[in-house]
């Protein structure tokens, strides 16, 4: 059975990169994936979405994701403005970058669906030095739904960014990943 994921964020927040990291890690772990951003011109600050379909079998469907199993919200300012719960499958959940409790998040979204909250803005500001919540969200995701293992994710982030980011910056991102993994509720 496919797992379908829909990311919500804003242009410039690393939504596409986070989706890419997830897709690549899952593929290298032996799964099949179709991962892509919402098609269209990207503008810094504008709400954007990205999609991933992850399966044990080859994937044939090429359309956007309309009924996600998992919704991930990178930017808390979208909550209440964008209908992030739209289309969420029965039994699915929302994972959001949110400073409150899961109950408060449910109320803010206006949903009865299962919600997980992690203050990824705070974590990334403290660990990376700027509010870049994307790697933190991945850490939180594999805690609440281990589609891929934490180790596989850590390993792929290291490989992907070696030579592109400084070793120091990679370590900072991994710290954010770990803290979000531990702090998500």
């Amino acid at each position: 059975m496919d797992t379908e994921i829909c990311w919500h964020g804003r242009g410039g927040q690393g939504v596409v990169t986070a989706n890419e990291i997830l897709a690549e890690t899952a593929i290298y772990a032996g799964k099949y994936v179709k991962a892509f951003p919402e098609f269209g011109p990207e503008r810094m600050g504008a709400p954007i979405r990205a999609f991933a379909r992850i399966s044990e079998e080859p994937i044939r469907v090429h359309t956007q994701v309309y009924e996600p199993d998992i919704v991930i919200v990178i930017d808390p300012s979208l909550i209440g403005k964008v209908d992030v719960a739209k289309g969420l499958k029965k039994g699915g959940f929302i994972l959001a970058n949110y400073p409150g409790t899961p109950e408060e998040l449910q109320k803010a979204i206006g949903t009865t669906a299962k919600c997980y909250a992690v203050d990824a803005t705070k974590i990334s500001t403290e660990e990376i030095g700027r509010p870049m919540a994307n790697t933190s969200m991945l850490g939180a995701l594999v805690k609440v739904r281990p589609i891929i293992s934490y180790g596989e994710l850590e390993d792929h982030i290291t490989t992907k960014f070696t030579g592109k980011l400084s070793d120091k910056m990679i370590v900072k991102n991994l710290s954010a990943l770990k803290r979000a993994y531990e702090e998500v509720q």
Partner: protein, 392 residues
Amino acid sequence: MTMPKKHSDLAINGDNAVALAWKQIDPDVCAAYPITPQTIIVEKFAEYIADGEVTTEFVCVESEHSALTLCTTSCSAGARTFTATASQGLAYMWEMLPITSSMRVPVIMAVANRAVSGPININNDHGDVMSARDCGWLTLFSENVQQAYDMSIIAPRIAEHPDVQLPCLVNLDGFILTHAIERMTPIDTQIVKKFVGEFKPMHPLLDVKHPVSHNLMDGPLFYFPHKYQMVQAMNNALKVAKDVFKEFAEISGREYHLVEEYMCEDAESIAIVLGSSFGTMKEAVDQLRREGMKVGVAMPRVFRPWPIEDLAKLMKGKKSVIVMDRHLSVGAYGPMFPEVCAAALENKDVPKMYNFIYGLGGADTMVSDFMSVFKDVKDGRATRINYLGVKQ
């Protein structure tokens, strides 16, 4: 801790997959002008050149018209030459397209299919390549990232064959494939190189011992016969493509056909579609089969030459045939519809023929949309020509 990879497959998007095939082939010359959603191909390939991973000479040009002019002349000089474009870029090349093919030079061009303006739109449909369909280029379609890579390796073998000698368009759906990460099995570079082989130009301009002229003026006496020679080359390409597909299966384990079929054999109603929608429609077919509907779907892998005999065979005995066109000849039909109808006339009994125009300018067509197409035909709601999802 380092986790060993469980396989040698890649996580790669369609554009990068094409660039990887090009890198493995290592063509002599490349000239291209950036245009979304093709840009990544040439950006990535330029990286390979800058890193010294290929020996290709990259020529910067100021437009697509110049790109194809350069590619045409470079190929006629005797160099294996690749380019890529999309949408307005292909439109801007249009003047050169029939010149490249009539000069019989096997230039390879990747097309990241995108709607043609206007209104201006950067998303996927087949308006660009369909506007090039009468220009004498071989035309291949891919369903997914793997196939965009495979077709990029296969294309030069068909195009450069002595019985063919025609340029080739390799199509991949803009964004849907170009910008989507999928799992792909690459082929070892040495195997790719051996499969594609050395470029052996037939009458290169730079062969000074055998001086020739290319692209001279043809009076009425020669113009038509020269066009007819291209017809013969296209006919030859059907056999060549089949042979190359067989050889490719031996190195890759992936078998391709002039017309790809899914659940067509016992189907009463079949759809014919191009590109990534073939995959999405397979899912629609599976769901309808579970509801008891005998349906199937097919894709002409090779669009030029038009595989009329294979299509006729496919349609034999079917109750209805649905042609899905991701382009529209405004005021007539979708471009593939009359061609499928012509193929249907090869049989004694002609099925009921329906045309559905869908997905123009990137309109996302879901599995449920494709299912509704088969149901509309079965329940008598469909007309000769239908515009899927547009309020009429």
